[in-house]
Assembly symmetry: C2
Homo-oligomer: 246 residues x 2
């Protein structure tokens, strides 16, 4: 899919020009990083998705020092996080801020959002919930979303480190893109899959315990760095590819 | 080892009575949860460990709304986190607080600390760094500690959910306890070990980017819950054992 077609189809869904551009940048960035599950395949997926309003705007419900609460207000999660990220960059915290985003779904490739924060000089940790698709490795009902954990760390001079790890052996995006079967969507880790399941469940409950309006949401921690550990780590790594490197 | 012997040996190392009691509660609790690597074996390990002062006290260096910075000041990490946890319970945040703990090592079983916070009604997410023992699954130098991620979620009526997952296939504690070989200490996940490696590295850099005094440290996020998702999750789980259940 090229940009002309992608933007045309997004605008046809009712997204304004700036929002369509932001969505396209997300999907195109995912494709360029080899994450097809978060890429162009999401456009036909959005064409069939219900429950979002292309013209809706997220709302900053509450702000105190070190804390913000947002509500998606019917907007699609990608654009809620886009607005949240821009707000952090415009008004960074004095030290740190926890940002709870209610009704924020789908949020796409979380690495995209923390990369923008890291490129702007902020440390970020982000998770987001999604439909329950992971069960305990020993069996039983699906209890947790694939709930990725993304961490972005700025770096002087060179690229930030951007971690973006889903707790599933494959992503739902891979299933959407036809790259995996739904049955492959189990906690990653094989004999240690209980660890990925535990982290997925912990992240699920972290979000679920912090939102007032029940539903899929995101929790972002953003902080000003006090040190610049990435360059020394890259030296130590001696060429080993670090998370987020292209 | 019984309590008499454990407490005697801890006091012989120079720990005061309250601190020896707190350390014993940690080690004994780990044994009771089947985490021998964090249990009694740590007493002979402490007898051979250098770099801590049994009488030292951690210091609260900085406090602004939503943020605290602590320094271990030579105290052993277990007791630094013990003091930090008590402080959060005595003065919980209005909404949320990021707590950066510099020079805080070793910190033991992180689930112990977040469980205390969850028992006191607070949501908590905690990580801590340790010597670099995990390399990239494809090879190269050791770049990250085993860097566990612990998440504690309070629950009305029933037990909290307590996640405590190290990013290693075994823990250093298992090696200390003679339950595993040092060579077994690789990122967990088998074919997906790059995910656990990425999370370990992200958590490493999260801590390293937030401390001013370079060295092993801990980062704690503590927040007041707005919802009570655990009882409904336990109903949905229909008897499946959840993380932290005994």
């Amino acid at each position: 899919m090229d940009a002309d077609e992608g933007l045309r189809r997004l605008r046809a869904l009712g997204f304004g020009e700036a929002d369509a551009d932001e969505l396209w940048a997300h999907f195109d960035g995912a494709e360029r990083r080899g994450k097809q599950g978060h890429g162009y395949a999401r456009i036909p997926w959005l064409e069939g998705l219900e429950g979002y309003e292309p013209a809706a705007q997220p709302t900053l419900l509450e702000e105190v020092n070190g804390f913000q609460r947002w509500h998606g207000g019917g907007a699609i999660g990608y654009l809620v996080l886009g607005r949240v990220v821009r707000t952090q960059l415009e008004r960074p915290p004095a030290r740190a801020r926890l940002v709870v985003c209610e009704r924020t779904f789908p949020t796409g490739m979380l690495g995209h959002h923390v990369r923008r924060l890291a490129d702007g000089g902020l440390v970020a940790l982000l998770t987001a919930t999604s439909p329950r698709r992971l069960g305990h490795p020993d069996g039983g009902p699906k209890l947790a979303g694939t709930n990725p954990l993304a961490i972005g760390i700025p770096s002087s001079g060179r690229d930030p480190v951007v971690v973006d790890a889903s707790m599933g052996a494959v992503t739902w995006g891979d299933v959407v893109a036809g790259l995996a079967e739904a049955d492959d969507l189990v906690p990653f880790g094989g004999e240690h899959a209980h660890k990925a399941f535990a982290v997925a469940l912990g992240l699920q409950l972290l979000v679920d315990s912090l939102v007032r309006d029940e539903g899929h949401g995101a929790v972002l921690l953003v902080a000003r760095p006090e040190a610049d550990p990435v360059p020394a780590l890259r030296d130590l790594a001696a060429g080993v590819r670090l998370p987020g490197d292209s």
